[in-house]
C-alpha cells in the first residue's frame, strides 16, 4: 500500500520532470561540449532565449509548419550568437566569464525585444508525443518513461550516448579532452586548438538553442519574456554536478526537473508537510529546486575532498583559460 503510493508519487513526478527538464538537459549537453574543449560559456541563459524566440518567429511570422525546421532555425540563430562569443573568447582571447555574462544578459534582452508583439500567442506547430505502437496504454506504471515527444529521447538518450562514445571511445574524443586539459600538448601534436574550440562552442550553443526551441515547440507552446527563467544557470550547475560526464548530466537534469515538478505536483495532489500550511508550502516548494541544485553542486566538490575519483570529477584543466601559442 505505502509502496504503491510511493511508486505512484515517484512515477507522476518523473513523468512530468522528464519533459520539464529536457531544456536543461539540452543546454547542459551544449555547455559540456564547450567546456570539454576548455571554453566556459556562461551565456546559456541568453542562448536559450535566442533559440526560443527564433523558433517562435519561424512559426508565427515565417509560417514554418514543421517543428523540426523551427527548431533548426532556433539552433542556427543560437549558433550565430555562439560564433560571436567563440570569436571573442578564442580568437581575441577575451575573458570567457565577462563575454559569457554579456551573452547571457544580451541574449535575454535581444530575445525579449524580438518577442515583443508575440507574447502569449499560442503556437500550434508542436512536437507530438510518440505513442509506442499501442503496446502500452498510458496507465501502465512504465508510462512515465514513454509517451514523450521525440526530442525528449534525443536529449536524454541519443545525445548522452553519442557524446559519451565520442569522448571516451574515439581518438577524436581524446583530442577534444586534450584541447580542454592541455591545449599546448594538443597543439604540439597538430590539433588546431583555436579551430576545435570555436567549432565545439558553436555546436554547444546550437544545442542550447535547441533547448530554448523545445520550450516553445512542446513544453509551453507560447512565447513569454525572460523565457529561460534560470534554466540556463541550472544547466551550468548540472554540468558541474555531472563532473563533465554526459551520463551523469541525465541524473542532474532529472533531479532538478523532479524538484520543479514537485512544486506543482505536490500542490495538485495535496501532498503536504505537517508543520506548514498549504500557502506557505507553495513558497517553500518554489524555492526547493534551487536549494537542491546548490546541494547537488557540492556533491562532486565533496567527492574531490574525499579523494574519490578526483580525476574524472575535476573540471577540464584549461577551462576558461585562453590559449596562446606564443605563451606556452
Amino acid at each position: 500500500m505505502i509502496l504503491a503510493i510511493i511508486e505512484n508519487a515517484f512515477l507522476s513526478l518523473i513523468g512530468s520532470a522528464i519533459p520539464a527538464s529536457a531544456v536543461v538537459m539540452l543546454a547542459a549537453t551544449g555547455a559540456m561540449l564547450g567546456e570539454r574543449v576548455g571554453v566556459l560559456n556562461l551565456g546559456q541563459e541568453g542562448l536559450i532565449g535566442i533559440g526560443a524566440v527564433y523558433s517562435v518567429i519561424a512559426v508565427l511570422s515565417w509560417g514554418v509548419e514543421s517543428p523540426w525546421l523551427a527548431m533548426l532555425i532556433g539552433m542556427i540563430a543560437a549558433a550565430v550568437a555562439g560564433l560571436i562569443f567563440a570569436v571573442c573568447v578564442v580568437a581575441f582571447r577575451a575573458s570567457q566569464v565577462l563575454v559569457g555574462l554579456a551573452l547571457a544578459l544580451g541574449g535575454i534582452g535581444l530575445s525579449n525585444q524580438l518577442g515583443t508583439n508575440r507574447n502569449g500567442t499560442p503556437i500550434q506547430t508542436l512536437f507530438r508525443e510518440v505513442n509506442p505502437g499501442g503496446v502500452l496504454d498510458d496507465n501502465d506504471a512504465v508510462s512515465a518513461f514513454f509517451f514523450h515527444d521525440p526530442v525528449v529521447y534525443i536529449a536524454y538518450i541519443g545525445l548522452p550516448v553519442v557524446l559519451w562514445f565520442v569522448l571516451f571511445r574515439t581518438r577524436h574524443g581524446m583530442n577534444m579532452k586534450a584541447v580542454g586539459e592541455n591545449p599546448a600538448a594538443a597543439d604540439a601534436v597538430g590539433v588546431s586548438v583555436t579551430g576545435w574550440r570555436i567549432f565545439y562552442s558553436v555546436l554547444g550553443a546550437a544545442l542550447t538553442g535547441a533547448g530554448g526551441a523545445y520550450m516553445v515547440l512542446s513544453f509551453t507552446p507560447t512565447w513569454s519574456p525572460d523565457i529561460a527563467r534560470g534554466r540556463g544557470w541550472v544547466a551550468l550547475a548540472v554540468v558541474i554536478f555531472a563532473g563533465w560526464r554526459p551520463g551523469w548530466a541525465v541524473a542532474g537534469a532529472l533531479l532538478y526537473g523532479s524538484m520543479i515538478s514537485l512544486d506543482t505536483t505536490a500542490q495538485a495532489r495535496g501532498w503536504g508537510l505537517p508543520f506548514m500550511g498549504a500557502s506557505d508550502l507553495s513558497f517553500f516548494l518554489s524555492m526547493l529546486p534551487y536549494v537542491v541544485t546548490l546541494v547537488a553542486i557540492l556533491i562532486p566538490a565533496g567527492a574531490v575532498k574525499l579523494g574519490r575519483r578526483v580525476r574524472s570529477t575535476a573540471a577540464p584543466a584549461a577551462l576558461a583559460i585562453p590559449y596562446s601559442r606564443e605563451e606556452r
Binding site: 502569449g120 507552446p221 512544486d263 500550511g277 500557502s279 506557505d280 507553495s282
Partner: protein
C-alpha cells in the same frame, strides 16, 4: 453606462489584510534569491519614509495650494506588470488606456511602460514618469511600497493603483468585484465538471485568489454539493512555463474544470488538449480552447474608469477616494459548446446576485481548517470580500492567512 458610475462603485472601509506585497515578501524569502529578495525587502521595508526624504525636498516647496482649475491637456502614464500584448490582463488595461485616449482626444497624451516587476528599478520607473511631467499614473498591479515611496513624494501627481491597500491624498486603489463572476463561473463548473473537481491555478494567497476559489466553490456547490476546488499556487502572474506545469499537474490529478488567475492563456490550450472545460480571467480567448471554452471575466470597465479619472484631472476635480473603487465585472460571452441550460443557470445566478436575492458569501460558512467564519444568516458584501483572507471549506491547496 456613463450614468451608472456611482452604482458601480462600492466603498470599502480601510482595512488591513494580506497584500500582494506581503505575499511577495514571503515569496522572495521562499525563493531565497538573495539579490531579488534583498531589493524587494529593502524597497518595501519600514524605512520608506526615510528613503523618500531626499526626493520630497524639491516638489512641495514649489507647489503651494494648487487651485482646482481645469487644464487644457494632460499626460497620463500606465505602468504594466506584463507586456501589453499578453492576450490577457495587461492587454485589457491597455485597451482601457486606448479607450481613454479615444474619448479625450487631443487633451490626453498617454504612454505606458511594460514588464515592470517587483524590484528597486520599479521605484525608479515611477520617479521617471513623475519627472516626465505625467499628471496621473495608473499601475496595473499592486506595487505597494515600490510605488508609494514615489507617490508620497510627488503630491502634484495623481496615482491609481489596482488592488492596492494604501491611501493618501494623491493615491487610491481600484479593483474588480470579481467574487460574483467567480460564483457564476462556479455555477457553470458545477454543471459541466462531471466529477465535481475544479482546478485553480493561483499566484499568491491574496484576496484575489480567495475570492476566485471561494466563488468557484460556492457557485459549483449550489449545483453539485460534492464539488471541490483544488488549488496550485505558482507565485507569479506571468510565467507560462510555470502555469503550464501547474495546469498539467492539475489535469493529471484528474480535475474536470480548469480555471486560473494567470495573465496569459497557456493553461487554456493544455485544457483543450486534455478535453477539460476551462475559463479565463481576462478576456474572450476561445481561440486557445475552441471546443472547451466556457467563459471569462469581462474587464471592459477599465476604459470608462480610466477615462473618468483622466477627465477629472482635466477638470481639476480629481480627488483621491477614501476607499477602494470596485468596478463591475460581468461574466463574458459563452463558448460555443456550453449547453443552453448551463448558460441560463449562470445568467440567472448573476441576476440574483445583482438583485441581492443571492449572496456569494452567506453563512454558515467554515474555512478549510474547520473554523466558523460566518454565522448562519451573515453575509459579506463586495467591500468586505475585497479584504477576505480565508478559503471556504472544500478548497484545498491554499490556507487561511
Amino acid at each position: 453606462m456613463t450614468d451608472s458610475n456611482q452604482d458601480r462603485r462600492l466603498i470599502l472601509p480601510r482595512r488591513e489584510s494580506i497584500s500582494r506585497r506581503q505575499a511577495l515578501k514571503m515569496g522572495a524569502f521562499g525563493i531565497g534569491g538573495i539579490a531579488v529578495g534583498g531589493s524587494i525587502l529593502a524597497a518595501c521595508g519600514d524605512d520608506e519614509d526615510d528613503a523618500a526624504a531626499p526626493a520630497t525636498t524639491a516638489a512641495p516647496a514649489t507647489t503651494a495650494a494648487p487651485a482646482p482649475a481645469g487644464k487644457e491637456s494632460i499626460k497620463a502614464a500606465w505602468v504594466y506588470i506584463g507586456p501589453p500584448d499578453d492576450n490577457g490582463w495587461t492587454q485589457e488595461h491597455d485597451r482601457g488606456r486606448l479607450a481613454a485616449e479615444a474619448a479625450l482626444g487631443d487633451r490626453l497624451t498617454t504612454s505606458f511602460v511594460p514588464n515592470i516587476g517587483f524590484d528597486a528599478g520599479t521605484t525608479e520607473t515611477f520617479q521617471q514618469l513623475v519627472d516626465d511631467g505625467n499628471d496621473i499614473i495608473f499601475a496595473n498591479t499592486e506595487y505597494a511600497g515600490l510605488l508609494t515611496t514615489v507617490s508620497d513624494a510627488a503630491p502634484d501627481t495623481k496615482f491609481c493603483e489596482i488592488n492596492g491597500h494604501y491611501y493618501s491624498d494623491n493615491l487610491f486603489p481600484f479593483y474588480l468585484a470579481h467574487e460574483k463572476t467567480a460564483y457564476q463561473l462556479g455555477v457553470a463548473a458545477g454543471h459541466l465538471a462531471g466529477n465535481g473537481r475544479i482546478g485553480y491555478i493561483g499566484a499568491f494567497p491574496t484576496a484575489t485568489a480567495f475570492n476566485d476559489v471561494n466563488g468557484l466553490l460556492l457557485g459549483a456547490r449550489s449545483v453539485n454539493p460534492d464539488a471541490t476546488v483544488e488549488t496550485v499556487l505558482v507565485s507569479t502572474f506571468f510565467d507560462p512555463q510555470k502555469a503550464a506545469q501547474a495546469a498539467n499537474a492539475l489535469l493529471d490529478a484528474g480535475v474536470d474544470f480548469l480555471f486560473g488567475v494567470m495573465d496569459e492563456p497557456t493553461f487554456l490550450q493544455l485544457s483543450e488538449e486534455a478535453g477539460v472545460w476551462t475559463g479565463y480571467w481576462n478576456l474572450d480567448f476561445r481561440s486557445a480552447a475552441p471546443t472547451k471554452y466556457v467563459s471569462h471575466f469581462d474587464l471592459s470597465e477599465f476604459g470608462p474608469f480610466y477615462t473618468e479619472q483622466c477627465q477629472r484631472v482635466l477638470d481639476g476635480t480629481w480627488v483621491a477616494h477614501d476607499d477602494v473603487v470596485l468596478l463591475d465585472t460581468p461574466i463574458g460571452d459563452f463558448g460555443p459548446n456550453v449547453p443552453q441550460d448551463v448558460q441560463d443557470a449562470v445568467l440567472d445566478a448573476g441576476a440574483k446576485l445583482d438583485s441581492g436575492e443571492l449572496h456569494v458569501y452567506e453563512g454558515p460558512l467554515f474555512d478549510n481548517e474547520g473554523n466558523e467564519r460566518l454565522a448562519a444568516g451573515q453575509t459579506l458584501d463586495s467591500l468586505e470580500a475585497y479584504a477576505i483572507d480565508w478559503p471556504v471549506d472544500g478548497v484545498t491547496g491554499i490556507s487561511p492567512v
